[in-house]
């Protein structure tokens, strides 16, 4: 057991406050998503109320939302997958096979993330319009793949660099070629950090709003766009519906973060066991 000390107590207190300030708004959103409108727009916050599923039933019943879910899942899923298929080997090559341009390539990849989306959204819109692919899933998949690819490469390079080179050399001595070494040795050893990189790039494009707003109008709308439209339903802001949609929208990223922290925990646990 740790010894009690004032400093320790203050740190705990501070961390507690930070946690509360982070969690309470989310909890409040969750509670409000089960309220009727009258219970939300009161002067004093209500903790006891008749719960309702109306908000959820309403948004889940809307065609635009179902379309948004399908769009988001296909677009985000595909761009993360393509980002992984292309990004992981690229990151491995950059980490393991040093060459003259490696540093420049790494920086170029990162620089893709420097550009504010607003600066690229309009040119991209013009390009997709010109190619007659505006408001298609394909155009958004290709655009998002640029984001997931850059993120995946950038985050995976350190993961592959952390694989001990001797282990890969041992596999070479065991007779395996560079591809087998990548798939059978480097990838399985680095997988825990790689899952983190992929989850991060998933969350990034799942929450992406601006580019989706510029590149879609109806057919390829993703969930963030659909959810934002819910607030424009009428003159009265439908708070309950908004809260419910926020909760629904947050679920997939939360699941991803959950997977992520599970991997992190098991990695850390393993390390602890070693010591």
């Amino acid at each position: 057991m740790k010894k009690f000390s004032l400093g320790n107590l203050l740190v705990q207190l501070f961390l507690g406050l930070v946690a509360i300030s982070a969690v309470v708004p989310v909890l409040w959103t969750l509670i409000n998503s089960f309220k009727y409108r009258v219970d939300i727009v009161t002067d004093t916050p209500k903790f006891f109320f008749t719960p309702t599923l109306d908000n959820y039933i309403y948004i889940l019943g809307r065609e635009s939302l179902v379309g948004g879910v399908v769009n988001s899942l296909t677009i985000v899923g595909t761009s993360v997958l393509v980002g992984a298929l292309l990004g992981l080997p690229a990151a491995y090559a950059l980490a393991r096979y040093p060459m003259r341009w490696a540093k420049d390539i790494e920086f170029f990849v990162l620089s893709i993330r420097f550009l504010p989306p607003v600066a690229v959204a309009i040119p991209l819109m013009v390009i997709w319009l010109g190619m007659d692919m505006y408001d298609t899933r394909t155009s958004l998949i290709v655009t998002y793949t640029l984001l997931t690819l850059a993120t995946t490469i950038w985050l995976s390079i350190p993961a592959f660099k952390a694989v001990p080179p001797e282990v890969e050399e041992a596999a070479f001595v065991d007779g395996y070629g560079p591809y087998a070494v990548f798939f059978k040795v480097a990838l399985p050893i680095a997988i825990k950090s790689l899952v983190g990189a992929l989850a991060f790039s998933f969350v990034l494009v799942w929450n992406e709003f601006l580019i989706a707003l510029m590149l879609t109008t109806s057919d390829a709308k993703t969930l963030p766009i659909v959810a934002s439209e819910l607030s424009q339903l009428g003159r009265d802001v439908p708070w309950g519906i908004l809260n419910a949609s926020v909760i629904l929208l947050s679920l997939p990223p939360m699941l991803m973060i959950g997977i992520l922290s599970k991997f992190l925990n098991s990695a850390l646990k393993k390390k602890r066991d070693q010591e």
Binding site: E166, V167, E169, A171, F172, V173, D174, A180, I189, K270
Partner: protein, 364 residues
Amino acid sequence: MSAIVCNKIVKMYGEVQVVHNFNLDVAENEFVVFLGPSGCGKSTILRMIAGLEEISGGELVIGGTVCNDLPPGDRGIAMVFQNYALYPHMSVYDNVAFGLRRLKISEEEIKRRIADVAGTLGLNPYLQRKPTELSGGQQQRVAIARAMIKTPKVFLFDEPLSNLDAKLRNHMRIEIARLHQNLKTTTIYVTHDQHEAMTLADRIVLLKDGLIEQIGTPREIFERPRTKYVAGFIGTPPMNLMDMAVKDRDDHFEISGPSGMVTVSAHRFDLRGRDRVTLGVRPSHMSLSAPNEKGTGFNGNVELVEYLGNEVLVNLDCGGIEMGAMVPSNVAPQLQDRMTFSVQEEHLHMFDISTGQTLVKARA
């Protein structure tokens, strides 16, 4: 037939040459140790033989096949790394089986062979564990099992014991020696530890700055070091080396300096025409004697006494030159005692003062 032939092998990193014209024939079943300080190129040469490092020039032949451009897996070698390099995501069994699976050997055969090797190395209780669950010594044994299982033409060991503690290192060294006695596989073993080299090697290749200083059996290297560097590198405590003046007395030479004087006959060393040499004497060859009227021997005051059990290492101040001498512990030397030592001529080493090459005449 030689198992391995290195013919003028060169390694360049850009403009920097780190291995110069390395020539070596390793005989079938021989245990050769590459010895040298860090940065001498020993690991680089081993990695070139393994195929993990490109050969910049020269020719490498393993088992009669030129291997310069063959990938590691096709050279008939197996390697044990300093930090074990086990596959952390596989069980011990899979680690050992990994190389065999590529050869499409049936699982039954693999099982039989692993049982065999695991029995030899005492790994049976650990086969289902992950490498991280094993101690350093066990991990290195798994690495050796992984190398053995392929029945290679050549074993390559890259400082395999450096990561182990002293006691375990001793134990594993004996195990490796026993393994070589049983398997007789041609072995190249890299180390910076002269004790490992002396005890394991059939022949030692002593390297410095990418050049061979001397190749020879441990005995040859210890008794007839070819250069001053080899003389100083091999042997604990290290050889006393000092610069002395030479006087030609026709039938013999007088070698003298501030630490003392010795006389040598004319035929053993190539001393004619020289007025200075580097003289070498091992501390264990300094024998305690009484001062004599001729003034031969080394005289010094005891500065430090290190008790080692059967023997005592005495550090002497001999006219401003530091020398070490091993004496039986029953002599019990005291600080500031004046002691005189004589050395038999056959235990003297002499080197050219500028090149460091031995002055012992080649035996007729």
